[in-house]
């Protein structure tokens, strides 16, 4: 069996499809549980429908670079392996780094002409073992961490809200600044989106524009993407 037939075999593709079907089933179970709990806590069906629509909108655009990374990896690694690794657990960058290191350790280049079945198996194992480490850590650590936070919450619930806010704004600030330091274009996009989002929320205070509050977030992302396309020819 030649290399391309091996990496694109229907058995591998079916295996991945079954795994992804299982993962999707778990997502549906979680969705149902979250829905019932939110309803029990007083979140209205209308609000939850808005949340669902919003999340679909927000997830669409970031999914496209993932599709692109699958397209980039597919000629070298076949469809099944990148499909699985980018649909669950992994991030495209880490997977690519892992696969390239494994190919190099096997003594071949990460190209369609150089890769061999041995290099592919090495890459598949390296990607799986190397990039799946986050999940077992979470499965072991998360419960004790949540229990510790609960102890603090019982002592002073107002403080734990501020504590959560501290974590939240630091995460946003750190990721924003880290993205912005990469150049003038991402910096301009961050600042532009920040202002646009603020203006949307300000406009939403007008009763006639109340609907804008629900769509401010996906609209702002769309604005940022269009802004990046407009400013890149001038600033790059």
């Amino acid at each position: 069996m030649d290399y391309q037939s091996l990496i694109n075999s229907s058995a591998l593709t079916i295996f991945v499809a079954v795994v992804l079907l299982l993962v999707t089933t778990v997502c549906v179970i979680y969705l149902r549980n979250g829905w019932n709990e939110a309803k029990r806590l007083g979140v209205t069906t209308a609000e939850m429908k808005k949340i669902v629509l919003n999340c679909i909108g927000i997830s669409l655009v970031p999914s496209i670079p993932i599709v692109l990374s699958v397209i980039v990896m597919a000629p070298v690694l076949g469809v099944a392996l990148p499909w699985l690794r980018t649909s669950v657990i992994g991030s495209a960058n880490n997977e690519l780094i892992s696969a390239t290191m494994a190919a190099s350790a096997t003594g071949v280049e990460f190209t369609t002409t150089d890769m061999t079945p041995q290099a592919w198996i090495n890459a598949a194992w390296a990607m799986t073992l190397g990039c799946s480490v986050a999940l077992p850590i979470v499965l072991v650590v998360l419960k004790p961490v949540c229990k510790t936070y609960d102890v603090f919450r019982k002592k002073d619930s107002r403080w734990i809200s501020i504590f959560s806010l501290c974590a939240l704004v630091t995460v946003i600030a750190a990721f924003s600044i880290n993205s912005g330091k990469k150049g003038i274009i991402p910096s301009a996009v961050i600042i532009g989106c920040f202002i646009f989002s603020y203006l949307c929320n300000l406009a939403a205070k007008n009763p006639k524009l109340k609907w804008l509050k629900d769509y401010a977030f996906p609209l702002t992302i769309l604005f940022g993407l269009v802004l990046s396309m407009i400013i890149t020819p001038f600033l790059s």
């Binding site: 969705l31 979250g34 649909s87 598949a124 850590i137 330091k181």
Partner: protein
């Protein structure tokens, strides 16, 4: 811990370990099917590098995210991936739509909905992308759209900043200044900035809270 959280922990661990086994079974299946086995002696340095790289991130995320998202959505997030560019933005947007404060029981429930919907959407889009790979390739690789795909993360975090940083400006200012100094002046890696930045912001916010400087 509420009964929902207890259920999320139990289900999260059961599904998490099961999904991990299913995902890790792929290379084993390929090795058995083609009778080609990996050369662990050659790949272990690369695997170890990834473990070190990712473990430091995950440990800092385990301090940062549980008080924001709650357990259910975090288990699902780590099964399906794409935390930074999809799951966190979706969960925060969901809380904003429902007018819920982060870290509450309601926030935990809507975060689960947000992360589940986001995961299903991504899985469907990737599957569609693979099905339509041939006609889509030239469109997705077009130079006109390239800047947009290169700036998805800045757009998402700019939008999140506009949504959340103005809620408690004093705390946000502290965190922004701490992160600016850590990233641009001290040039510390992101995972340590998260850990140290959260700790520094919490310490300063605690002082402000004790002195009654934060709004009730």
């Amino acid at each position: 811990m509420s009964s929902f959280e207890i259920k999320m922990h139990r289900d999260g661990r059961i599904y998490g370990w099961s999904m991990l086994l299913a995902i890790c079974a792929f290379p084993l299946f390929a090795s058995i099917k083609y009778n080609i086995w990996p050369n662990f002696g050659a790949i272990w340095p690369g695997v170890l590098t990834m473990w070190i790289l990712m473990a430091s991130y995950v440990l800092s995320e385990m301090i940062a995210f549980p008080p924001i998202l709650g357990p259910g959505s975090l288990y699902l997030t780590y099964i399906t991936g794409n935390l930074q560019n999809q799951k966190i933005p979706c969960a925060l947007s969901a809380m904003s739509i429902a007018g819920i404060e982060a870290g509450t029981e309601k926030a935990n429930a809507v975060s689960v909905i947000a992360v589940a919907v986001s995961s299903i959407t991504t899985t469907v889009i990737i599957a569609l992308g693979i099905l339509l790979m041939t006609p889509l390739t030239p469109v997705l690789n077009s130079p006109v759209l390239a800047p947009a795909f290169n700036n998805v993360v800045p757009a998402i975090f700019g939008a999140l900043a506009g949504l959340w940083l103005l809620k408690e400006i004093k705390v946000s200012l502290v965190s922004v200044v701490v992160c600016l100094i850590a990233i641009l002046v001290l040039k510390i890696d992101l995972q340590w900035v998260l850990l140290g930045g959260i700790a520094a912001t919490i310490i300063i916010a605690r002082l402000m809270y004790s002195k009654g400087m934060l709004k009730e």
